[in-house]
């Protein structure tokens, strides 16, 4: 079973040289720490920067340089700054090669819910609806089950949707899965996790085709 850092590390293996990547808040943010050797990617933050660098040192902190999570950041050499319309032009116009975000629920047709729990506080969708509606390559990074042990990989989402039929791949603490027309296709098991563990934790349609290898992580 993976922890949050393990999930980030596994997703980092998906990165390809030269990609522009948008990382959501939470687990996705951790991915920046695990970029494979020999791979160069640029991180976009939708509040208006491309080429986001690591968090600043105390001396580098600048209130005018933050990411979409409102965290202080740095700019890498070759970075560029732009307004919010240009930022979402990059997103909507499919200039970003990979979007990684968290989710509360994913359905086996690729629907995703991650912005609202009716009856509870609604914080808003931020840029998530634009990201999921536009990106060709969306990976969801999340725990396989919620705090009450209920599966987050469902036949149908129960929460208000963020986007329909958009998620392509899911990396959880238990598994790596593709979203296909027939449902979740199990690709890899986390270290020490059995196919049965994954079956038990998955409510949506699960396709198990042949031997399922353990992640190489």
């Amino acid at each position: 079973m993976l922890d949050k850092h393990g999930i980030a590390r596994r997703i980092a293996q998906e990165l390809q040289d030269g990609w522009y990547v948008n990382l959501g808040i939470g687990i996705p943010t951790l991915i920046a720490n695990y970029i494979p050797e020999g791979i160069s990617v640029e991180f976009q933050s939708e509040n208006g920067i491309l080429g986001m660098g690591p968090f600043p040192t105390e001396a580098e902190v600048d209130a005018d340089l933050i990411n979409a999570g409102k965290q202080t950041i740095t700019a890498m050499p070759g970075a560029s700054i732009f307004d919010s319309a240009t930022s979402f032009a990059m997103i909507r116009g499919k200039h970003i090669q990979l979007t990684v975000l968290g989710a509360m629920e994913v359905a086996d047709n690729g629907d995703i819910a991650n912005w609202k729990i009716p009856g509870k506080m609604v914080k808003g969708m931020g840029g998530a609806m634009d990201l999921v509606a536009s990106a060709d390559n969306i990976i969801v990074a999340m725990m396989h089950t919620n705090k009450r042990g209920k599966s987050k990989l469902l036949r149908n989402c129960t929460l208000p949707l963020t986007g329909v039929k958009c998620v392509k791949k899911i990396v959880t603490n238990l598994a790596v899965l593709d979203v296909t027309d027939q449902g979740f296709k199990l690709l890899e098991r986390a270290p020490g996790v059995s196919v049965e563990d994954i079956e038990n934790a998955t409510e949506g349609r699960l396709i198990i085709d042949g031997d399922i290898p353990e992640m190489n992580i």
Partner: protein, 251 residues
């Protein structure tokens, strides 16, 4: 770019350009917000607490203008940014993409005192830009199949569903820039740019507060982010706090 003009030409023309209606400098925030009335719709630049018009927000608090509809990506925090207007219950309706980090906001929303319209961030940005550009409506894939799509026209392009979204309409926009000049030309710094240039284009009257007001001709025409035509009033603000929401440090 000043180098394009000989000194002689420059001196000849600069005199008459510096005075009159082209000079948009007002004294301070209090003067700048003249004409903003109860019940109006305002656009306010900023992302989180980054690049927000601190001086004008305080002036709106001081002036006690109420029943405002505010279009802004966020709603500040409890004791800063638009949170200051929320505390005094001056906001009737909030149009934003993300409103977390604000307990008073939550209380007013749940009690029904505050009306909230949540808009996807990219759609929010594009609706501002469209307003400034005289584009009454456009199509975007964001929000199809979600609550956001309710009541909106769906149209397919290349087999993919899109929603029709309309330009915003705001009599006033308030933005914050790093530098500006008397003609209203603006330059932003870092990610404090965000929604500011878009909202500057969109306001019928746009108020810009700047950290530094420079002489006309000091800003390189090639690097101006917001041409002065989009700004009607400008002043040099004071006492910027520039509060940081998530001070994240690398060890």
């Amino acid at each position: 770019m000043q180098a394009y003009l000989s000194l002689k030409t420059l001196l000849f023309y600069i005199v008459k350009e510096q005075k009159g209606e082209m000079n948009k400098v007002v004294k301070n925030a209090q003067t700048a917000i003249q004409g903003i009335k109860d019940g109006m719709t305002l656009m306010l630049g900023g992302f989180g607490l980054c690049g927000i018009p601190e001086n004008c927000i305080q002036a709106l608090v001081d002036a006690g203008i109420k029943d405002l509809t505010c279009i802004s990506n966020n709603a500040g925090v409890d004791d800063f940014g638009l949170g200051l207007l929320l505390q005094k219950k001056q906001i009737k309706k909030m149009i934003a993409s993300y409103v977390g980090e604000n307990a008073e906001f939550e209380r007013q929303m749940l009690s029904g005192e505050l009306e909230v319209d949540l808009v996807p961030q990219g759609t929010l940005a594009q609706r501002c830009q469209a307003a400034g550009a005289g584009i009454p409506a456009f199509y975007t894939p964001a929000g199809f199949g979600t609550e956001v799509a309710e009541g909106k026209e769906v149209r397919y392009f290349d087999g993919k569903p899109h929603l029709m979204e309309h330009a915003f309409d705001a009599p006033f926009a308030i933005v914050k820039a790093w530098k500006g000049d008397a003609f209203g030309n603006l330059v932003f710094k870092g990610t404090a740019r965000n929604f500011n240039p878009l909202m500057a284009m969109a306001g019928k009257i746009t108020i810009a507060e700047v950290e530094e007001l420079v002489e006309v001709g000091q800003l390189d025409p090639n690097t101006i982010h917001t041409p002065g035509i989009f700004v009607q009033r400008i002043f040099q603000g004071a006492n910027y706090e520039k509060r940081i929401e998530q001070r994240t440090i690398r060890s």
